[in-house]
């Protein structure tokens, strides 16, 4: 009689195998980087992407029994492999991965837009509107207050007069309103969650992308005269903002219609088409100074809601799922400034904690006003804690616009975003698991794939 391993022991064997393989792959890359230490060419970028893909997948599988999201595994793999720990992926390599990140972001935004169902959005419009208003107002006010109160802990703010501290606090507050569409979509991709919480979070995070861009431009316009006496209030920024927003929406709509027509008429090799769009359109958007996230999001939204190709489109994008998210988040992990976080963690913890707290408070208040379902009232805040690329990008803009305090401001932002980036996905997955929205339907695996006859 053949002995059949129980699922538990098979699971244990799989986990031991994953740990051993992770150590083995790491040892190989470690050996190679030490054997040929001075090579930083693009060829090593290839190996780095490969290693992050494998290490991220393995780490996420190893951490899965703890209930941690895959994104956390990807981030940890990136941090461990990055320039501040094992140095398997150096700073130069992290920078040279930016085209891959651009592509990942395009696919994530397309996926996010395609997941937004117009009828569901209409149903939850009241809830979303209240949550948006209250979150924006409360977060900006409370975080500005926290920043001003924490002034003695912030060397760069101590020397500033009170009005300027308030102005910088307002910028800090506006930065706090940013969310992470990529983290939200990453968690939803892993859990395949369906339900009011998943719908609410996705809708909120996607719509907040537009709101945040407007809010930041407004705050920047209003605070600039306070921070730079030679500057006057200018409407030019709003003209540029209008150009960026309407241009992005127009281009996104066109792109969405083109994709829908393609899916209807040709419907082949969509992944190659997505790659072409990801690289080609991103370059065009960069040239036109349009918002790539918004453009691709609108394109996905149009395909989903203005054609009958939405589900087909989502299926195509889901095929890229793990590869895109591993590369994106593992690179983010490798890019994380660990020494800075080590230096600033007490203040960053205060800032991240206060942001999470006010987000929870805003969710409770908005939930009561909008008479949300209990699950949203209880867990609605959990998906709004994550922050990532958008917040980092805005902190770079602020650092560039205000050279006197900007770099130190950015350091604080980077440290705080790092905490939110690590804690946010864990909270959101926990909420989806607890609210019962996480799908337990088996997903296709290699075993479920019946090999088609080969083309020979």
């Amino acid at each position: 009689m053949t002995a059949v391993a129980s699922p538990a022991s098979r699971g244990f064997v799989h986990h031991v195998t994953h740990v051993v393989l992770l150590v083995a792959f790491t040892a190989l890359i470690f050996y190679v980087t030490r054997a040929v230490p001075e090579v930083h060419g693009t060829l090593w970028t290839i190996a780095s992407i490969g290693f992050l893909l494998v290490a991220g997948t393995l780490t996420s599988e190893i951490l899965a029994p703890l209930g941690l999201p895959h994104l956390t595994g990807y981030l940890i793999a990136g941090i461990a492999a990055g320039p501040h720990m094992l140095r398997l992926v150096d700073e130069h390599t992290v920078k040279s991965m930016s085209p891959v990140n651009t592509l990942s972001l395009a696919l994530i935004a397309l996926s996010g837009g395609a997941e937004l169902d117009l009828s569901a959005l209409k149903q939850g419009a009241k809830s979303l509107a209240w949550a948006m208003v209250i979150q924006c107002v409360l977060v900006v006010i409370v975080l500005t207050g926290v920043f001003v109160a924490a002034r003695p802990l912030l060397p760069f703010a101590r020397a500033l007069p009170v009005t300027q501290v308030i102005a910088v606090g307002l910028l800090w507050g506006a930065l706090g309103v940013t969310r992470s569409p990529s983290a939200t979509l990453g968690i939803l991709s892993q859990t395949r969650a369906h339900g009011p919480l998943a719908r609410f979070t996705l809708g909120f995070v996607m719509v907040s992308d537009i709101v945040v861009v407007v809010l930041i431009a407004t705050v920047l316009g209003c605070t600039r005269p306070l921070l730079d006496p030679s500057a006057a209030f200018s409407a030019q920024a709003f003209v540029q903002l209008g150009h960026e927003l309407f241009g992005s929406i127009a281009l996104g709509t066109t792109l969405g219609l083109v994709i829908a027509v393609y899916l209807r008429v040709v419907n082949r090799q969509m992944l190659v088409v997505l790659l072409v769009l990801g690289f080609g359109v991103s370059t065009v958007l960069d040239y036109l100074q349009f918002d790539a996230l918004l453009t691709f999001m609108v394109a996905g939204f149009i395909v989903r809601n203005m054609s009958n190709q939405g589900h087909r489109f989502i299926e195509y994008i889901e095929q890229t799922g793990t590869v895109v998210y591993v590369v994106f988040f593992a690179t983010a992990g490798a890019d994380l400034d660990v020494p800075l976080l080590r230096l600033m963690w007490p203040v960053a913890l205060l800032m991240a904690g206060s942001r999470a707290g006010v987000t929870w408070l805003g969710s409770v208040v908005a939930g009561r006003i909008a008479k949300d379902s209990p699950v949203i009232r209880k867990w609605g805040w959990s998906g709004l804690v994550s922050q990532a690329g958008l917040a980092l990008g805005l902190s770079v803009v602020i650092a560039k616009d205000f050279p006197s305090f900007g770099p130190a401001f950015r350091s604080l932002a980077v440290a705080t975003i790092a905490l939110n980036e690590m804690i946010g996905p864990i909270l959101f997955k926990l909420a989806l698991d607890r609210s019962g929205e996480t799908s337990h339907v088996a997903v296709p695996s290699l075993s479920s794939l019946r090999p088609p006859p080969l083309d020979h």
């Binding site: 190989l28 190679v32 060829l43 893909l53 690289f279 793990t322 296709p444 794939l449």
Partner: protein, 410 residues
């Protein structure tokens, strides 16, 4: 040309190539070896129109390396299989011996011709050149036999045998380049290993990564996670071998072999990877064409001529062995070996790998000879194969009038 435009152009080419995989749109288009894309690349490249300049080619080296590595991985995954069937031992033996005889004949011929053609060549360069050309000229493209077989609706033991041989002659050329690459270590590599160890390290990296990946896919990962693992291990193999200046093609090939051998999902993996082969191949061929330098060496035409004549002789000998050992081949006559003259993707990949690893006359000469040999093979191989199959009575003449769609992989 802007780098992003070129990248998008290559992706568009991949897109068009993917249509050739299933052949629904472009029925039967394209040559078995894909040399038309090499020619297109040459025209666009720095020697003719200069739309793809030298700097651009250098910046696209990672793309080329990834394409070559992925192709070698796909070839490794498919090694020893013809379709969904494992090839017979006899075909494996003939395929391996055939590549040894042909590659050996070409290498020896070039080796002895070089002192006359290039008297000042250093002994190590002479070995690299002869060995590289031998490796690039030894294989028969898997695509060619299927191309004729499917167009002519050929069915029978000879068609099967030739198809199997074409699927099993990739091992020796890839082992050869592992040895040749090890002969010329770069100063960047700080590890001092005896030369004999580097080919073993090359193979070992491929086998170890393949074994690891097989263990991983055994644990029932999701399909998209399986893709992440496949991409991941292949990119690790490509990056590490490139950093150690050893053969990317060989490591990736053995990675594929290990995965096919050790994974219980070998058939599923082949089914996943096979459709990606053609879309990756065409941009690689285009970039190979852009790298072609026909004036790399003043005696290049002579070297190419020697290589082609030796290849013809080698294939004749292989055919004779087949003629003697196989009943169906006897009906096709003693020149049945010329049916295996077509070379293609792997030969040009080897040439391109040489051009990247040994920039200058050595690498460029190997690439040009690989391309010329593939072009020559187009004139001889398919025509001779058709005649052999007709002689063996394996071609349905009625069906041959209206060729079925070419459902091809490289």
């Amino acid at each position: 040309m802007n780098a992003v435009l070129l990248l998008v152009g290559l992706l568009v080419l991949s897109y068009l190539g993917s249509f050739l995989v299933t052949g629904r749109t472009v029925r039967g288009a394209g040559l078995p070896s894909g040399v038309e894309y090499v020619a297109l690349g040459f025209v666009l490249g720095p020697r003719v129109l200069d739309l793809v300049g030298g700097d651009m080619l250098a910046s696209f080296e990672p793309v080329v390396q990834v394409a070559l590595g992925w192709l070698a991985f796909a070839v490794g995954l498919d090694f020893g299989y013809a379709g969904d069937k494992r090839v017979r031992g006899g075909s494996l033996a003939i395929g391996t011996m055939g590549s040894l005889i042909t590659g050996g004949a070409v290498g020896v011929a070039v080796w002895f011709a070089l002192p006359r053609l290039q008297p000042n060549l250093a002994p190590s360069d002479r070995l690299l050149l002869a060995g590289g050309i031998g490796a690039a000229c030894s294989e028969t493209t898997r695509h060619a036999v299927r191309w004729v077989v499917e167009r002519m609706n050929a069915r029978g033991p000879l068609a099967d045998r030739l198809n199997e041989i074409a699927h099993t002659d990739d091992l020796l050329p890839l082992l050869t380049i592992a040895i040749l690459f090890a002969l010329s270590p770069t100063p960047d590599v700080h590890v001092r290993e005896p030369l004999r160890d580097w080919p073993l390290i090359t193979i070992g990296i491929g086998l170890l990564l393949g074994a690891g990946a097989s263990l991983l896919v055994r644990s029932d990962l999701r399909l998209d996670e399986t893709w992440a693992v496949l991409f991941g291990v292949t990119l690790i193999a490509i990056g590490t071998t490139a950093r150690l200046a050893i053969s990317t093609l060989t490591a990736s090939f053995f990675l594929g072999i290990a995965m096919a051998a050790l994974s219980r999902h070998g058939a599923e993996l082949r089914a996943m990877v096979a459709p990606t082969e053609r879309p990756v191949l065409l941009p690689a061929l285009l970039l190979a064409g852009a790298h072609l330098d026909f004036v790399a060496s003043p005696k290049l035409p002579w070297i190419a001529a020697v290589a082609i004549v030796a290849r013809l002789a080698g294939k004749v000998v292989v055919g004779w062995l087949l003629y003697v050992s196989s009943k169906p081949a006897r009906r096709a006559g003693p020149l049945v070996g010329l049916s295996l003259m077509s070379s293609g993707a792997l030969a040009i990949s080897i040439g391109l790998a040489f051009a990247l690893r040994f920039p200058g006359p050595i690498g460029d000469t190997v690439l040009v000879v690989a391309a010329v040999s593939a072009t020559f093979g187009e004139f001889v191989g398919p025509a001779r194969l058709r005649r052999s199959l007709q002689a063996a009575g394996e071609i349905d003449n009625g069906a041959a009038q209206s060729p079925p769609p070419a459902r091809v992989t490289a």
